[in-house]
Amino acid sequence: MTDVIDKPKQDGPDLKVVGTRPVRPDGVDKVTGRAAFGADYRLPGMLTGRILRSPHPHARIVSIDTTKAKALAGVKAVVTAADFPDLDSEEYEAGESAADIRDLSLNVMARHKVLYDGHAVAAVAATSASVAEEALGLIEVVYEVLPHVTDVVEAMSPTAPLLHEGMITQGVTPPPTRPSNIAKRFASQRGDLEAGFAAAEVVIEDSFTTQAVHQGYIEPHACVATMTEDGQSVVWSSSQGQFMVRTYCAKLLGLEVADVRVIPAEIGGGFGGKTTVYLEPVALALSRISGAPVKLVMSRDEVFRATGPTSGTAITVKIGATRDGRFTAAQVELKYQAGAFPGSPAGAAVMTALACYDLENFSIIGWDVVTNTPKVAAYRAPGAPMVAFAVEGVIDELARNLGIDPIAIRELNGVRDGMKASYGPTFRNIGFQETLQAAREHPHYSAPLAPGEGRGVAAGFWFNVGGESTAALHLNEDGSAVVVTGSPDIGGSRASMAMMAAEVLGVGADRVRPVVADTASIGFSMLTGGSRTTFATGMAVTQAAQKVVESLKARAAMTWETGAEHVAWENGQAICLDPAKDVKALSLAELAANAARTGGPISAEVSLNAQGAGPGFGVHICDVAIDRETGHVAITRYTAVQDVGRAIHPAYVEGQIQGGAAQGIGWALNEEYVFGDDGRMQNSGFLDYRMPVASDLPMIEAVMVEVPNPRHPFGAKGVGEVPIVPPLAAVANAVRGALGFRMAHLPLSPPKVRAALDRSG
């Protein structure tokens, strides 16, 4: 069923549950160690799997000999690409963005070529980890090593080694005649660029680079999978979408979708990185041969080398403005690294690049470029933070050049309701101006800086999406309820689902137990991504609860022998409005207890394709102190302001904002993929891939601005992705303030800051 909902929002003061901060329903499991994540499952007869990975960034596979490995006692299965169907190219939308099924298959197991250090070439299942490890050493792979390229700009050169010999750039007319590493060109424009720049009194242009960074979830990918001789399969895995895993496993192994059941484990962080499959199809292939359940768990080294980082980028931005600060034209060109297969977030970057601003004239060109690095995966607002780093940096320079306050220049040029977004639609019910105003009025913004400190401001935008979701609500005989969804709980969404259902039912949140069900127990739901769950799945939950309330009212009417139109639902009870009846209100518990006599079990399931997710805007303020001798940048104060529509569970909304800001700070300061001349990742561990630790950060103040989204029953907008968009620029603009010159190449790590200081004299 497809259903587009468009209801007026309920007013804040009437809400009893939404907006409160109850303890999350899955909390006790997670503070006691009971919660079962991907690697915590164990089945009888289970085998342990291991994956053999390429040590070369680019090589032809001449041969793979698995004879000796298969002969080792305790080895039950060895698979290579030969054990998977050789699939044709087919665009398929199951993850956060469309994926080519053939590319996905080749990423899961290399067929003729390896395209990055860490690319899987074979896998074994054995009776113990030590036997499986020994077996890996017995697999003989002959490689013909090829020249490699890991940098996005170098990969675009006509002389660069080609990853895919037949790849012709899409989006260029006429199509190029020669293959290249450029997979696709994206373009977006409006107005007259030349006239716009001609009207400018000040033009600032600069070129920026950002490095590949990883999502950095603490839980490595893990799954257990089993397949019977007739192909019926069950997978337990940690992912952002059990239905996504089901689809991809069925496609990659040539199975009926109905034969694959995926049971979602608790997920130990994803941030977009668990919106695709790496292990599940391999575990199934090993189980198909061995006839036993197979467990596959990645090491941290494998996570870094073989799963999705986000793109390294090179971006040029030119913006013109009048003396009073009004933007007249903007030109952006961005080059995004896709990794081994096409599909960088360059398209989303083109759409978000100027989305915060009202511009009559602009041109944005984006390039999607393959490199000998792991295939990128979605990472929180995919594509947006890098281009925001560049655009917000140039705006910062414009503000400095013109002597205009950085928030004022954004208020002057920022989008408002009724304006046509740079990416097409007309903005409605957006809160960018309110967010800017809240940032300007925040005490942080006017607090004095210590000598040598710098302050930076930056804005960010993310679309937020809706999409397909299913929810069921079952009322129990004691009046408690179970709400079932197909959306993995990645950061507290069980709590918000229970709260929205409770709000509609008129009971406390503790009377509603939320369950995240497997693919055989609830209707289809897109994965948790795009900041869609509280919006879209929440909408399905709300509608299911409304249906249950309708049923409760009908049953009360039946009991009172009156029409349903004479029954109101208030505070969790049915009230009779029929003046002819002198009856007491019937509570939800009483009605539930009487269900058998009034028509049977009370439950409802709603499937919908939610439209109308409200776009989100954030404005961050960052203070830094720099040790000019060591180049060390310390974040001394950080405030993140964001329009959240309406916060269902404010504490978890704040948590999203704080976590996104922290990831962005790490991206700005120290995180990076370091490749050696040999094309291998040099820092595939948490020691040298430097994510922020507790002592690196101050408290991060999250300020929620509430401009409700009328397309959601309680006004919610997606909140998870916006907060990672501004920090790169906010930190860089603060460093600019402290140093007196701009650093346009991330990360702003101590060696680079010190070197920049030395160069500046």
Partner: protein
């Protein structure tokens, strides 16, 4: 890694025998196990030295200090007497990894792992610490700087291991300090480190100094020009500038994922200056 053999001898003799037979010494294991797991070391039998008599504990003897070589680093920081006498040595040991690592990692492990970036080593060398090495030929006492001969290489012979670390008695108006530079605030390997030990006379003039740098050469290096820069002088900007230059002269670093040659060299000078300033201030307070 699960196929390793594990052996935990209780006596020096048994440990020497097991190591002589090709075993690999482990104390805290916080480096060794990581390297084995990553396949950077060939698998081999592990000889756990933590139960060997004499490898645990901190005690004072003849005015100096004896630290069992496998004593967890955290215990150094919890020992008020040692902290008062050798704050720099304790600072170095206290920077080896997280709280969790501190409860396992030891001075001997940090030393014999032979990483150029080992945090405890510069301060130990600056302190003129020695090692009691046990082996098939009995025991010998060697200066700490004689143990590490190159990246991942030590002078220990077959069957030998470090049993104790010894710190000399302190004269009055003497103090030490250790500092390192890392990109984050914790949980990193030193990009460069500097240990300094200084002795002042009653007038606050430097009588003796030793400054040692880490992570700027294959082994920790003594700043040869430190004495010329500082002995006979009071603490001032000129003295520290001389030391900064002297420190940079001895650097022979590499460029890698943690830092460039240029950065390491400059930062070594900065850290040397700062460490000496801290040690100096501490020594003055002891006057």
């Amino acid at each position: 890694m699960s196929q390793l053999q594990y052996y935990a001898p209780g006596s020096v003799e048994d440990a020497v025998k097991a190591l002589g037979a090709g075993g690999r010494a482990m104390s805290g294991g916080t480096d060794l196990l990581v390297q084995l797991r990553a396949g950077r070391l060939p698998p081999g039998p592990i000889v756990d030295l933590k139960n060997v008599a004499g490898t645990q504990g901190i005690r004072q003897e003849n005015g100096g200090w004896i630290i069992g070589a496998a004593t967890p680093a955290a215990l150094l920081g919890e020992h008020a007497g040692l902290v008062a006498a050798w704050p720099g040595v304790v600072e170095g040991a206290g920077l080896i990894g997280s709280t969790q690592i501190q409860n396992r990692a030891s001075l001997a492990g940090n030393l014999c792992n032979a990483s150029p970036a080992a945090d405890s080593v510069p301060a130990l060398i600056a302190a003129r610490a020695t090692c009691i090495v046990a082996g098939p030929g009995g025991r010998r006492e060697v200066p700490v700087q004689a143990i590490v001969t190159g990246v991942g290489k030590t002078s220990l012979g077959p069957g030998e291991f470090v049993l104790e670390i010894r710190l000399p008695p302190r004269p009055p108006r003497a103090a030490d300090a250790y500092l390192r530079a890392i990109p984050r605030t914790e949980m990193d390997i030193a990009v460069a480190g500097a240990g300094a030990d200084i002795v002042l006379d009653e007038a606050g003039v430097c009588q003796d100094v030793r400054v040692v740098l880490g992570a700027v050469a294959p082994t920790a290096v003594i700043v040869a020009g430190a004495s010329a820069a500082l002995v006979g002088f009071r603490l001032d900007e000129a003295a520290l500038e001389r030391l900064d230059s002297a420190a940079q002269v001895v650097c022979r670093p590499i460029s890698d994922k943690r830092g460039t040659v240029e950065y390491r060299t400059r930062i070594a000078g900065v850290l040397a200056r700062r460490a000496v300033a801290i040690a100096w201030e501490r020594a003055e307070k002891r006057a």
